[in-house]
Amino acid sequence: MRRRAVGLLLLACLCAAGFPAPTGALASVAAPSGDLDEVMSLLAMRGHGRVEFVEQQFLAILDHPVESSGELRYDAPDRLEKRTLLPHPESMVLAGGVLTVQRGERRRVVDLQRYPQIQPFVESIRATLAGDRGALERLFHVDFAGSVERWTLTLVPRDPQLAKTVARVQIGGSRDQLLHVEIREANGDRSLMTLRAAGP
């Protein structure tokens, strides 16, 4: 029981390790906000989704990216599952504001409300998949570029505390499909997730 608190310590380390965010210039091309609404409503109409992902993490401490791949599943409105298959099977399920990470028989459960610093990592993807513009705008400054056929959302955390961890999230897509998600952390680390429709 009391070990619960201990188990979540590491998550708390995240915010402790933050550096001031380098304010990168955001390349934003003004686009009609009608397109954002259309993309959002297209996304909102999808109840479920299943895509394959390849994720590359570029860490300051390593001179090469760390790669992983697997499957991403989404069920409206708030269930998101990231199932990593390579290099090691592991699953991460976000449901009802609670994040559950399972690897083998080990399971960690995290209440997002208690660890707001994790929110940008997961909520950016969930809210976009849900077409939930309200939720996106509560957490981020939202910047839409491109067209319905080829769009880019740039999300910058509104909360200055959160901005110390995540500098920005960039999501690219076409109509109701997400094509890539790039998360740039304040300390220079970066992850790029490329998505494509899952095979049968």
Partner: protein, 798 residues
């Protein structure tokens, strides 16, 4: 003569006064030690210590229900804040990360002494390569989110390893900052009291503090819905307090109700206030002397003895009934008739001695509660009988005449007439048939006849036990069933042995014999282990060189790992971590919970978790593994099995002792009555009554407990008087006195049946067991004794 009477009365009052002083000064115990063995084996001693004062015994499980989630969370936080300031509690946890920062700092600062993976090999070039490669692989996973920021300081991942070791069982989920049940309908909290679980007064006070904190939190909440929020408490201390209150309430209420019933009955019969008052003298004397005897004999009186004792000497009310009813004819027959003392006292004395033989069988019991009940009953009955014999005649005002109950006896005799016409072989055949039928029923239920679980004695209702189980599963605090206990002469030696056992237990985890295990060394290693780890750390130059070699093909930018190099160097010169360093972190409570200090030794407790697929741990395989690992001092303790075995031991011992008691009664009767036939006539109705009651209970699917057994002894004790009176009556050859005898027995029987019948309506299972056994049993004993008696059918009286 008058002076002699005054002397007797004075002597009686003196004895009573001395006994009353002893009673007033006696030490009363209300904890569960009445159920614990008086002379425990070492394993039992561990069990007893765990049950009485172990960390599990000090938990109060708290649930906040109803209302809305936000209100529950606010109430939980407000309650916890208040309870944390209360010295009665050693820890209060509701999921709020209060000590998280300090815990994290402590673990991180001492990671190279606390992690059991630290060794010279791990910090060699090859070891570092493997460890860092592992960490980098971990980065690719979602959990990598947690690892990444620590990489420059902890590239070998010791911090995550320590946390994994500590967090073997997942705790409850949190919402709105506090623990909640899996369905989210309850906010959860766990408070640990400073006092032991067996200190029922302290537990009651702690529970009061929890309730007060809840009330204050609800009052202080501005939300309108706060009034709807409800509090549910559970845990060993909560149960102990509730049980005590319940037994006290039930005992008081039932004693008053039973007392009123008996007094009403006696007054209806006697129609004389002085007779009524005198009639209660033997009971009161017996109760006081009984408690005094227990206080002198055992040093302290268990609550259970008080609770049941009074009911056990219900027989003493009978003595005065016999005295009054049967002496009634004396005024008219003073010339020729025998006095009551001469005509009936020997019979009452024999009945009393029979009961004493029965209850004496409880005396050698290893179950302190039973042994005390035995002594209490014996001394109480002897005192009551002596008061009836010597004090009542002395106190009896001249000319006191009670209402004539002869008509009652005559009516009863007429009712019995048809049954009594059965004589000789047909009577014997009927008895044998009835006994055979009862035995057949008992044989049919043999497998389930006795309840051998300690829980059978628990005064806690099934519903409360279920609520407790629910709360425990919500908290992920399953009642620990299996423990490995490793003793040592010092704390250090116990910790070293626990470290020695860890690989054997880990192999059991891998083989899925157990799901996991906790160990105090996860919180604090032995000094020897810390020393070994510290000396395994390479010096700065070597570590730099090892890291350089390890990093070559890992793509690691070693220049960013400077924090790692300086942390290891600091650890090489840091002092070892001791118990005092845990102070101020939540780890202290965790460590203390797994260490048991007995007088001359320390025990490391390693709770085992059952494997995912199974409910229970195969303790035989655990024992075998520990034996193979050559840890002979380690003991595997299955708490439930051990406590059930303890109770089952009491039960079979009590059954054996009761049978010995029956044999003693047989010998006593043979020696006194000097006729096997008469002994058979006396014993047959008693044994028949016991068999019939046992069979009836079995038919109603009631599993017999130790209290049913005590009830059966009581049937024999009370019933033996009935049978002996009929036996004596037969030798008097006097029809008129038979109706009086019958009337006195009926009245005595009615008071017993009423008193115990009342217990059947109690909500305390042990009282119900006693009531449902004795009430029907006493009635049957009278019926069978009357039918089997040798008396010729009454001639009608003109």
């Amino acid at each position: 003569m008058n002076r002699q009477r005054a002397g007797i009365a004075a002597l009686w009052l003196c004895c009573l006064a001395v006994a009353a002083v002893i009673v007033a000064r006696a030490h009363y115990i209300t904890d569960l030690s009445a159920f614990l063995p008086a002379a425990p084996t070492p394993t039992q001693q561990l069990l007893v210590d765990q049950l009485r004062n172990g960390p599990a015994s000090r938990l109060i499980l708290i649930a906040i229900e109803q209302g809305d989630a936000g209100t529950r969370a606010r109430v939980s936080a407000a309650m916890a804040a208040r309870l944390r300031r209360d010295a009665q509690f050693s820890s209060v946890n509701n999921g709020e990360p209060l000590t998280a920062q300090r815990d994290r700092d402590f673990l991180f600062q001492h990671r190279y002494l606390l992690s059991d993976r630290v060794s010279a090999a791990r910090f060699s070039a090859a070891g570092l390569h493997a460890a860092i490669e592992d960490t980098i692989e971990g980065l690719a996973s979602p959990a990598g989110l947690m690892l990444k920021s620590l990489l420059p300081q902890d590239p070998t991942g010791e911090m995550l390893h320590i946390i994994d070791q500590l967090e073997r069982t997942p705790g409850p989920a949190t919402r709105d900052g506090v623990w909640i049940s899996s369905g989210g309908e309850r906010a959860l909290m766990v408070a640990q009291t400073a006092a032991g679980g067996s200190d029922t007064d302290a537990q009651a006070s702690a529970i009061g503090a929890v309730r007060a904190a809840f009330a204050a939190a609800v009052r202080g909440s501005s939300a309108g819905g706060a009034k709807a929020v409800q509090l549910t408490l559970s845990g060993p201390g909560v149960f102990a307090v509730a049980a005590r209150a319940k037994i006290e309430r039930a005992a008081v209420r039932l004693s008053i109700a039973g007392g009123l019933l008996v007094v009403t009955l006696l007054f209806t019969v006697y129609r004389s206030l002085p007779a009524l008052a005198l009639g209660l003298a033997p009971v009161v004397s017996g109760a006081v002397v009984g408690i005094a005897a227990v206080a002198l004999g055992f040093g302290a009186v268990h609550g259970i003895t008080l609770g049941f004792g009074i009911t056990l000497i219900g027989e003493s009310v009978d003595y005065s009934i016999y005295f009054f009813v049967q002496s009634r004819r004396l005024p008219q027959q003073q010339a020729g008739g025998l006095s009551w003392q001469r005509a009936w006292w020997p019979t009452v004395r024999l009945g009393m001695l029979t009961s004493v033989c029965g209850f004496a069988s409880l005396l050698p019991s290893g179950f302190p509660g039973l042994a005390q009940l035995g002594l209490y009953s014996i001394s109480g009955l002897i005192a009551a009988a002596l008061v009836t014999r010597y004090v009542l005649p002395a106190l009896l005002p001249a000319g006191l005449v009670i209402h004539d109950v002869t008509p009652l006896g005559l009516r009863a005799a007429r009712l019995l007439l048809p049954a009594r016409r059965l004589r000789g072989s047909r009577l014997a055949a009927s008895c044998v048939a009835l006994a055979g039928l009862a035995l057949a029923v008992l044989h049919g239920h043999e497998a389930t006849l006795w309840n051998r679980e300690l829980a059978a004695l628990s005064p806690i209702s099934r519903a409360d036990q279920d609520a407790d189980a629910q709360l425990r599963s919500d908290l992920g605090a399953a009642d620990v069933r299996d423990l490995v206990i490793i003793p040592g002469p010092t704390l250090e030696s116990a910790l070293e042995a626990a470290e020695h056992a860890a690989p054997a237990l880990q192999s059991l985890v891998d083989a899925r014999v157990i799901g996991g295990f906790d160990s105090p060394v996860n919180y604090l290693p032995s000094a020897a282990a810390e020393e070994a780890r510290r000396s395994g750390l390479p010096d700065a130059a070597r570590l730099r060189e090892n890291l350089r070699q390890a990093a070559t093909d890992l793509g690691l930018r070693t220049e960013l790992l400077q924090p790692f190099l300086s942390d290891v160097e600091a650890a090489r010169h840091a002092p070892l971590v001791g118990v005092q360093d845990l102070q101020g972190t939540s780890l202290r409570a965790g460590f203390d919970a797994l260490i048991l200090h007995q007088r001359d030794r320390w025990n490391a407790l390693l709770p085992l978790h059952p494997p995912l697929e199974a409910q229970a741990v195969d303790t035989a395989r655990v024992r075998a593994a520990l034996e193979r690992a050559q840890i002979p001092e380690a003991r595997v303790l299955d708490l439930k099995q051990e406590s059930d075995a303890l109770y089952a031991g009491y039960l079979s011992e009590a059954i054996r002792l009761s049978l010995a008691g029956i044999v003693a009664i047989l010998v006593l009767l043979l020696a006194t009555l000097r006729s096997p036939l008469r002994v058979a006539r006396v014993l047959a109705p008693l044994l028949l009554a016991v068999l019939c009651v046992a069979a009836a209970l079995a038919l109603f699917e009631v599993q017999l407990t130790i209290l049913h057994l005590v009830g059966m002894l009581l049937i024999v004790a009370v019933g033996s008087n009935y049978a002996l009176f009929f036996d004596r009556q037969a030798s008097l050859h006097e029809a008129r006195s038979e109706s009086l005898t019958l009337a006195s027995l009926l009245i005595a029987n009615a008071s017993t049946v009423m008193g115990f019948g009342l217990l059947s309506f109690s909500r305390v299972p042990v009282l119900v067991a006693l009531g449902t056994t004795v009430a029907p049993g006493a009635f049957l004993a009278l019926l069978f004794a009357a039918v089997l008696s040798r008396t010729e059918p009454l001639r009608s009286h003109a």
